[in-house]
């Protein structure tokens, strides 16, 4: 009897606020059926017909091409399954989703949970206070527009503290697993006595039972009416921005009264429009935490760029810039538009740079891209300054901090470099208070609208921060 009581207490944490497939519920069939009979666990629709189309109720997918049929071995019928969210386990027409209708969890009110010792700057503190107010007053939405390097994570700590003090459940969701892994130790250190759980594809825990959860936005597909506060980091980033199922899931993961806080350095048009129409509250943080302005990119036109790129050569102008950099001690972060270009240009550029005596040997340069299994390792080597030059695709455009780098974008007019990407990339430079300047160069063969807009927007942000 004793054992049952404990496990049912645990079950409450495991299942409340979730929307799960049968195989995601770790209960034997007998107990599961009993809870189903007692209506403690209830069935919910999985794939339903809506008008002329179908909808997967876990991910919201309505696209006909993202449904397929399967002759099901269990019920010997052919029916639909959802291909859109299949990486999280297959949702089938014949199998319901399950949700908890038992006793709900009451989360503890923590007393002074924040163990962070640092100090916020004045502007950071203003934003932090605005976040606290939004949470306390149960405001629906707040957008925090903070320039790259403003110290967004630290600005969240007072808000999270306030939420934990009033017994609220919080989720910080971010589009990329890399960022979850980077944030986890910082968050654990800032809230030493609170359990922080990280969820992402391949994370060591999958349970999702903590009061403070750090997750990729994909993981929200398993939640329903779970959180009092949702913080969506990098709301303008891929894939959150491109995949309608992620906002769908985030929306469902909110409790009825929930505060959503969006973080971004580069808000997309739809958010800016809602701000202008006064439909979305915002707080703007125009100054980096070290109080210096954002580096403004310089354009360098390269007339033979297309011809050079065909041979995977960096443009001539790039090599003239190298010896003339203002601070040669800085490391070099170079962005190219495609994986193929990164791979092929890497060996050529490496040879040239060694030939110019810029690098001591070829080992001081590396390249990374999204499918590179050694990505984390190479980024770490660069951070430790064991590599001097890192060639990358847009995968490193955000969420990573290197203290002292110059940034070059080769073929910055390419369509993968939209305004947001360019502003983010430029924001990699000058991150450290010891070297707040950093150069940013756009090598192009005809400027794009995105380049113009990015430069304009950086200048505007600097002006709003009180710089000339």
């Amino acid at each position: 009897m004793e054992e049952r009581a404990i496990s049912s207490e645990h079950l409450k944490f495991l299942l409340s606020g979730k929307l799960l497939l049968r195989q995601e519920i770790p209960l034997d069939e007998i107990l599961f059926q009993k809870l189903l009979q007692q209506q403690i666990i209830r069935k919910a629709g999985s794939i339903v017909q809506k008008g002329f189309s179908n909808q997967c109720l876990r991910c919201g997918n309505k696209k006909t091409s993202l449904f397929a049929t399967i002759p099901c071995g269990t019920c010997s019928k052919t029916h639909l399954y959802c291909r859109n969210c299949i990486a999280m386990g297959r949702v089938m027409e014949c199998e319901p989703l399950y949700e908890w209708h038992g006793e709900s969890v009451s989360w503890p009110n923590h007393l002074e949970p924040c163990t962070w010792q640092g100090q916020l700057t004045l502007v950071q503190e203003q934003a932090a206070n605005r976040i606290i107010k939004a949470i306390r007053k149960e405001e629906k939405e707040l957008l925090v527009w903070a320039v790259c390097g403003a110290g967004k994570t630290e600005m969240l700590f007072p808000g999270i503290t306030a939420a934990l003090e009033s017994g609220l459940r919080i989720c910080i969701a971010t589009p990329r697993a890399d960022v979850v892994r980077e944030l986890l130790p910082r968050l654990k250190k800032a809230f030493e006595n609170v359990t922080v759980e990280a969820l992402y594809g391949g994370s060591p825990t999958k349970a999702g039972t903590a009061q403070l959860i750090l997750a990729t936005t994909h993981q929200l597909l398993r939640f329903k009416q779970a959180f009092d506060v949702i913080i969506i980091d990098e709301v303008d980033a891929f894939p959150y921005h491109n995949d309608a199922s992620l906002p769908f899931a985030a929306n469902r993961a909110k409790k009825k009264r929930c505060t959503t806080i969006y973080l971004t350095a580069t808000p997309r048009r739809e958010h800016r429009k809602r701000i202008q129409q006064k439909k979305l509250e915002q707080v703007f943080v125009p100054i980096r935490f070290h109080g210096q302005p954002l580096p403004v990119p310089q354009k360098k036109i390269c007339f033979s760029l297309k011809k050079d790129l065909k041979k995977f050569l960096p443009p001539k102008e790039f090599f003239t810039w190298i010896p003339n950099r203002k601070n040669p001690a800085r490391q070099l972060l170079i962005f190219v538009p495609t994986i193929a270009l990164a791979e092929n240009m890497h060996s050529i550029m490496r040879r040239y740079l060694v030939g110019m005596n810029f690098l001591k040997n070829e080992k001081e340069m590396a390249f990374v891209h999204a499918e590179d299994p050694n990505r984390e390792e190479k980024v770490l080597l660069f951070r430790e300054k064991k590599i001097q030059v890192l060639l990358t695709t847009t995968i490193l455009e955000r969420g990573v901090t290197f203290p002292s780098v110059d940034v070059a974008i080769i073929d910055s007019g390419h369509k993968v470099f939209d305004e947001a990407a360019l502003v983010q990339i430029a924001g990699r430079a000058g991150r450290s208070p010891n070297d707040p300047k950093g150069e940013v160069l756009f090598f192009h063969d005809g400027k794009s609208d995105a380049m113009e807009e990015a430069i304009l927007s950086i200048k505007q942000m600097n002006r709003r921060g009180g710089f000339k």
């Binding site: 195989q23 091409s65 993202l66 397929a68 049929t69 399967i70 002759p71 099901c72 071995g73 269990t74 399954y81 291909r83 299949i86 990486a87 386990g89 297959r90 089938m92």
Partner: protein, 226 residues
């Protein structure tokens, strides 16, 4: 129409050849299709492994066994490269059933080229899943592949539940006991169908059981040579 793998729109160029044809289904876009790597050139005549020898050392070993090699021949179509590995993982383990359709044409063609002589008399037998695994996955990938072959199909094999083959080491696989059983006899040649040939042990377990139950010749057609 979208590519089954990358979901990008496939644009079929209209030419005089396809102008009056009913739209033919293409499963993959050309960029994804290029990443599938067919086995070409010299191969072991017995197991399809890429090899300059006519019969590879592994197959010689199988032949030297006490009872000889129960399998006449295996033919595989593709190499097991990273792309194939990703497709198989999503298809088989995630259960994205429709991905199997990528292989329909190739399987049909390979069967026509390699096993034409069997067409009249042989039956196709897919390697089965255990009941438990079948319940978990809802479909058998080997049976799906067998479905693309224009021959009589019979599910006469059953399988005892055990650990996944992919979780075992080479030695564990080769020395494993036969997981199959069958309750009827069959005195016809058999073409076994499975997704991957790795060590060939699974296929040989099935083959020796079929031979013990009346079939005198057993062949195999597999999608991938691991």
């Amino acid at each position: 129409m979208e590519c089954l793998w990358c979901m990008e729109e496939i644009i079929v160029e209209i030419s005089w050849i396809n102008l009056f044809q009913v739209e033919r289904q293409v499963a993959l876009c050309s960029r994804c299709n290029e990443q599938l790597e067919k086995i070409t050139g010299a191969r072991c005549k017995h197991c399809s492994r890429q090899s300059t020898q006519d019969i590879c050392p592994d197959c010689k070993w199988w032949k030297s066994q006490e009872k000889g090699d129960p399998l006449e021949k295996n033919f595989s179509i593709f190499h097991y490269n990273d792309f194939m590995q990703a497709i198989i993982a999503k298809w088989k383990y995630r259960g994205d059933y429709v991905l199997g359709e990528i292989f329909e044409q190739e399987l049909f063609q390979a069967c026509n080229e390699q096993f034409k002589f069997l067409m009249k008399e042989a039956v196709v037998v897919p390697i089965p899943l255990s009941k438990e695994r079948s319940k978990e996955r809802c479909f058998n990938q080997a049976a799906m592949l067998a479905g693309f072959i224009p021959m009589e199909k019979r599910n006469i094999l059953s399988r005892i539940h055990g650990e996944k083959q992919s979780k075992k080491t080479r030695r564990e696989r080769i020395s494993a006991t036969n997981p199959f059983f069958m309750s009827e006899s069959l005195n016809k040649p058999v073409l076994l169908v499975d997704d991957i040939y790795t060590t060939g042990t699974t296929l040989r377990h099935a083959a020796s059981l079929l031979k013990a139950n009346g079939s005198h010749k057993v062949y195999a057609l597999t999608l991938v040579r691991g």
